[in-house]
Amino acid sequence: FPVAPEAEDEGKTLQLVESYLQNFYNLQRDHQPLLRNKGENPLAEKLKEMQAFFGLEVTGKPNPDTLEMMKKPRCGIPDVEQ
């Protein structure tokens, strides 16, 4: 069945959020939020970290202000681990 528009948007939003947090907040690419024990969701934790940095409301959820900030052009953070 064609993906319902809101579900499609939801998928795009999740992709934007994951990609942003992987690029700038070191969210592990293999993070499996569902497999973790209940209390721990790395994506929500990293999202809170980002929201706190930018002085946004810390909800752990991608609200409009958070998504707007994620879409702003910015400085990259190169991977210095290696």
Binding site: N23, F53, C75, Q82
Partner: protein
């Protein structure tokens, strides 16, 4: 400001840099100038010096790169990530990579190369991202006219904490980001704008929407890239849906996001005598169509319908508005006029012709 994890820094003060390649989107001389100017932003406030080298390894290697450029941190095409830089260290340490696919420019179009490189060099020297929205080291891009650029105080404090002050006799200081609830906050100009109130301060504008509790801080250049910072007076002509902004002996007319063509014009175009060099504050009374301009201890009245100054002006401010002293900013809202003098605000009732209340300048920000 924030130091990079591990506090990396260059042990030498005399560093070298090399430009490895150029972007076809700008003249080579403009790229050279942007990089030279960006380096001077940091050398002006520290003992650091930067010498250009052509044909050997340099501490800071500057290059334009495309997508995956073999540093494990690929670029992402236009917008998104604009550039990145590596912390002080050997080899790739200190290097600056710029995303070749961005619309690089030497002005307000696309992304200003000078601003981005100045930010990246902060990383090359050991600074990480600051959460001060007015700082150069804030992670998101915002345009400032390079001719008007002053390194913000937050960045000066950060870099001097790593390398110390410059040897100059007079230590440079930088703009401090206004905070809405700072009790010492004063304003350059204030105007209503389509139901909102815009408070101008330096490069910034604080935007108060009647329905939103928090106050939004933006760069003036975010909305109007061609406007200068340091606006001195402003008022809204509600009927014509225009805002007039004044700086020194010039004024601009804004219509929404656009600056009316043919502006700025000289303020004498409005009928001021040549002796008037600038306007301190202004407000417009929507019910009478009269606009009041405040200059030093006097004020003029302008008729928006006749588009000329009324006779019998200027008059002494104290004669008609009471002891409000020199006016920094003024606006009219819901029939009252609000005058700002330093950190004091006076609410004036034009019908009763007297001050009815005195408040702090920040009373509008729900502190």
């Amino acid at each position: 400001y924030v130091f990079t994890t591990g506090n990396p820094k260059w042990e030498r003060k005399n560093l070298t840099y090399r430009i490895l390649n150029y972007t076809p989107k700008m003249r080579q001389a403009d790229v050279d100038e942007a990089i030279r100017k960006a380096l001077s932003v940091w050398s002006n406030v520290t003992p650091l010096t930067f010498q250009k080298v052509e044909d050997k390894e340099a501490d800071i290697m500057i290059s334009f790169a495309y997508r995956d450029h073999r540093d494990n941190s690929p670029f992402d095409g236009p917008n998104g990530q604009l550039a990145h830089a590596f912390q002080p260290g050997d080899g790739i340490g200190g290097d600056v990579h710029l995303d070749e696919e961005e619309a690089w420019s030497k002005n307000g179009r696309g992304y200003n190369l000078f601003i981005v490189i100045a930010h990246e060099l902060g990383h090359s020297l050991g600074l990480s991202h600051s959460n001060d929205p007015g700082a150069l080291m804030y992670p998101t891009y915002s345009y400032t006219d390079p001719k008007e650029f002053l390194l913000p105080q937050d960045d000066i404090d950060g870099i001097q904490a790593i390398y110390g002050q410059s040897d100059a006799a007079l230590q440079p200081t930088g703009p401090i980001t206004p905070r809405a609830c700072d009790p010492k906050l004063t304003f350059d100009a204030i105007a209503t704008l389509r139901g909102e109130i815009i408070f101008f301060k330096g490069r910034y504008m604080l935007r108060k929407h009647p329905a939103r509790a928090e106050t939004e801080l933006n760069f003036i250049s975010l909305f109007w890239p061609k406007l200068p910072s340091g606006i001195q007076a402003a008022y809204e002509n509600v009927e014509r849906d225009e805002v007039l902004l004044f700086k020194e002996n010039k004024y601009w007319i804004l219509k929404g996001y656009d600056i009316a063509p043919g502006y700025p014009k000289k303020i004498h175009h409005l009928g001021f005598p040549k002796t008037v060099k600038r306007v301190n504050a202004a407000y417009s009374d929507e019910t009478t169509g009269k606009t009041y301009f405040f200059i030093a201890d006097r004020y003029w009245r302008y008729d928006e319908n006749k588009k000329s100054m009324d006779h019998g002006y200027p008059r002494k401010i104290v004669s008609d508005f009471g002891k409000i002293g020199r006016v920094d900013a003024a606006f009219q809202k819901d029939g009252y006029v609000y005058f700002f003098h330093g950190t004091t605000q006076f609410q004036f009732d034009p019908r009763a012709k007297r001050i009815v209340r005195q408040m702090k300048s920040i009373s509008w920000f729900n502190c």
